[in-house]
């Protein structure tokens, strides 16, 4: 059992480094997440994915055609942001078109100076379709990198595997120790060597 307890200490260490890791792994980023999914307005079916990091945040605006309507080629997208408490003026960031198999994708890089909730306005315009639409969303901007809870979420399969292995190896070593006095060649514990 001491082996099992000892292994659990190892798992604790694994957990313990999750905290400092979150601060040091500057190359690490959480995956983008959707903030708007398949909202239909005029000729557009709009989805928006966000990676709102302090510093530079990224928004992917994905536009698909609605049934029976062609997607306007001249669709322009832009992102307008300001802190949710309204203390600063709104700033505007153009979204650049990018190749996308299923329609059009526009990517906007937005500067977020502080960690807090921001009001994000997504605007789509098309002159040929004579259409403009916008959606206003509230987004929490966080520092780049993983927080301890994010890391725990990502690492839990490994933690579960480690715990299972430790439990199994503990049982095995206990069984080997139990069979050693019988003179059987069944492991490497003292007295059991061949």
């Amino acid at each position: 059992m001491r082996l099992a307890w000892h292994g659990l200490l190892g798992v604790s260490l694994l957990l313990a480094w999750a905290g400092p890791l979150a601060g040091t792994l500057h190359a690490h980023e959480g995956p983008p997440f959707p903030i708007l999914v398949d909202e239909v307005d005029g000729p557009w079916s709009i989805s928006v994915w966000a990676d709102p990091d302090v510093g530079t945040g990224t928004f992917w605006i994905q536009i698909e055609a609605t049934p029976g309507v062609d997607l306007p080629d001249d669709t322009r997208a832009s992102v307008h942001v300001r802190p949710a408490d309204g203390r600063l003026d709104e700033t505007t960031w153009p979204a650049e078109p990018e190749a996308w198999d299923r329609g059009q994708q526009h990517v906007a890089k937005v500067e977020f100076p502080t960690r807090e909730f921001w009001q994000v306005r997504i605007v789509l315009e098309s002159e040929s379709a004579a259409q403009t639409t916008e959606r206003t969303l509230r987004v929490e901007v966080t520092p780049p990198g993983y927080g301890p809870l994010d890391l725990l979420l990502y690492l839990w399969p490994f933690l579960a595997l480690a715990a299972l292995w430790i439990k199994a190896i503990g049982k095995r070593r206990a069984a080997i120790r139990a069979c050693a006095p019988a003179g059987l060649e069944c492991g490497s514990e003292p007295g059991s060597d061949a």
Partner: protein, 475 residues
């Protein structure tokens, strides 16, 4: 009674008895043939295709996909890539004519030649940027084929696999944490067997015995086992199984195994385990940003512009100086707790295998990163290669496909590293308990500190920005 029964262990499923999988696993030539075909494609494309690493199948498949899949199969199954090794086909063909009877020289037995070549491959990889050169990568493949055939054409047994092949030695060490193992189904049947065909071969079945000299009833773990399943084909009692086991357990096991002996008596095995572990850190160090500043500082301090010299010093630091300090220190501290007065190297030999899971974690994190972030990059390159060969069957190349985002892969890297560290800590505890039953903690702590220090350095390495450059002595 079998050992498994004696300790209440389920003998586990026999994968060789599974309907389709079993017969496929036993068809080694099929897998070798497939791998040979792939190798030929890589060699041809490496020599004749575009000399741009990302556009060539040779560099792409060897350094991104092969290495990643190699470590993945070792972690998820076993030594499958040795089983399907294509180098064995021309080697077996040559042997039909040479029929060697001379034994491999005694001085070269063991793992030292393999360790030297393993370090040589790591060194040339960095010095000549093999990862960036399709032509050189193909040359390396050809040399592997030639070396396997040359060594085994002259000497009996399988000295290339057992002592020479750097990939084989890598696989042997990593397979100690594999979940599959080839072993006897029932030790009682082996006890009544007089032919020992698993070792000597079976002429009736036209099956050869184990060429690396593993006698199945006395085999312990995966060390030196190529998963070739010659033993399974040769056994007249069909008493060989490919079954599951607890990964890493054999590192705690110091019984004397057939063809390997007792781990704690094998300095060459310990050397291999240490080069494997520290080499993992060195190889990962070669692809992060700080290595260039370090190397430039080193070059300035040495007053040289020779990359070979600077790289040699770096290798000396990481593979000789650092292990000497860390392991020597740990051995000096832990031997005070051991009941017998032992030399420092003897203590290192006994504990070295405890660091292997950590090494596997670092290799898996590194190679896994390349595999997962570049998972689909072979698709457009294969499409282009087929089109260039006049076979545009695979369609228009879809340049731009990649793999998983780095942000998603990096937690996986950390998870693999953490898992390896936990297993290492437990294995080291078990070794300390075996070596110092009365003062286990005192014997264990120095080694646990070494494992945690290596883990911390690996965490630091993996958290550095990637920077893969061919030369470092220019601005």
């Amino acid at each position: 009674m079998t050992t498994s029964e004696a300790i209440g262990r389920d003998p586990g499923p026999d994968l060789l008895a599974w309907p389709l999988l079993g017969s496929l696993l036993l068809r080694r030539r099929l897998w070798q043939g497939l791998m040979l075909a792939v190798s030929i494609v890589l060699i041809v494309h490496g020599f004749l295709g575009p000399q741009l690493a990302p556009k060539n199948l040779s560099t792409l498949v060897v350094w991104v996909h092969y290495r990643g899949l190699l470590i993945a199969t070792l972690l998820l199954a076993g030594n499958i890539f040795c089983m399907a090794c294509p180098f064995m086909l021309p080697r077996d063909l040559v042997r039909r004519f040479t029929r060697p009877v001379r034994a491999w020289p005694r001085a070269l037995r063991g793992k030292v030649p393999g360790v030297v070549l393993f370090v040589f491959v790591l060194y040339t990889y960095e010095l000549f940027d093999l990862w960036a050169s399709p032509w050189a990568t193909s040359l390396v493949i050809v040399l592997y084929f030639a070396l396997a055939a040359a060594v085994d054409a002259c000497f009996s047994g399988a000295p290339f696999c057992k002592s020479v092949c750097p990939i084989g030695q890598f696989n042997f060490v990593a397979s100690t944490v594999s979940p599959l193992e080839v072993r006897a189904r029932d030790s009682g049947t082996c006890a009544t067997c007089s032919g020992h065909e698993c070792l000597t071969g079976n002429t009736e079945r036209e099956a050869r015995g184990c060429e690396t000299g593993l006698f199945l009833p006395e085999k312990v773990g995966n060390m030196d086992c190529t998963f070739c399943l010659d033993c399974a084909r040769a056994c007249p009692h069909d008493n060989v199984m490919l079954t599951t086991r607890l990964p890493g357990e054999e590192l705690m096991d110091d019984r004397s195994g057939s063809g390997v002996g007792r781990r704690s008596n094998r300095g060459d095995l310990a050397l291999l385990a240490l080069v494997f572990t520290f080499g993992a850190l060195l190889n990962a160090f070669g692809m992060v940003s700080p290595v260039y500043a370090f190397q430039q500082g080193l070059a300035a301090a040495l007053g040289t512009t020779s990359e070979a010299a600077v790289l040699g010093v770096l290798f000396g630091i990481v593979l000789c100086l650092e292990p000497a300090l860390l392991l020597g220190g740990a051995a000096a501290l832990s031997r005070r707790a051991l009941p017998a007065r032992l030399g420092l190297w003897t203590v290192v030999v006994r504990f070295a295998h405890g660091l292997v899971p950590l090494g596997v974690g670092v290799w898996a994190a590194h190679y896994g990163f390349h595999l997962l972030t570049g998972l689909w990059t072979f698709v457009p390159v294969a499409q282009k290669a087929a089109a260039d060969a006049g076979l545009p069957l695979l369609g228009v190349p879809r340049w731009g496909v990649g793999g998983l985002r780095e942000g998603i892969v990096q937690p996986i890297e950390m998870g693999l590293l953490g898992l390896g560290t936990v297993v290492s800590l437990v294995v080291l505890w078990s070794i300390a308990r075996r070596e110092a039953p009365r003062r286990t903690l005192a014997a264990y702590l120095p080694w646990a500190i070494v494992a945690l220090a290596l883990c911390a350095s690996a965490v630091w390495l993996l958290s550095q920005p990637m920077e893969m450059r061919g030369t470092f002595l220019e601005s």
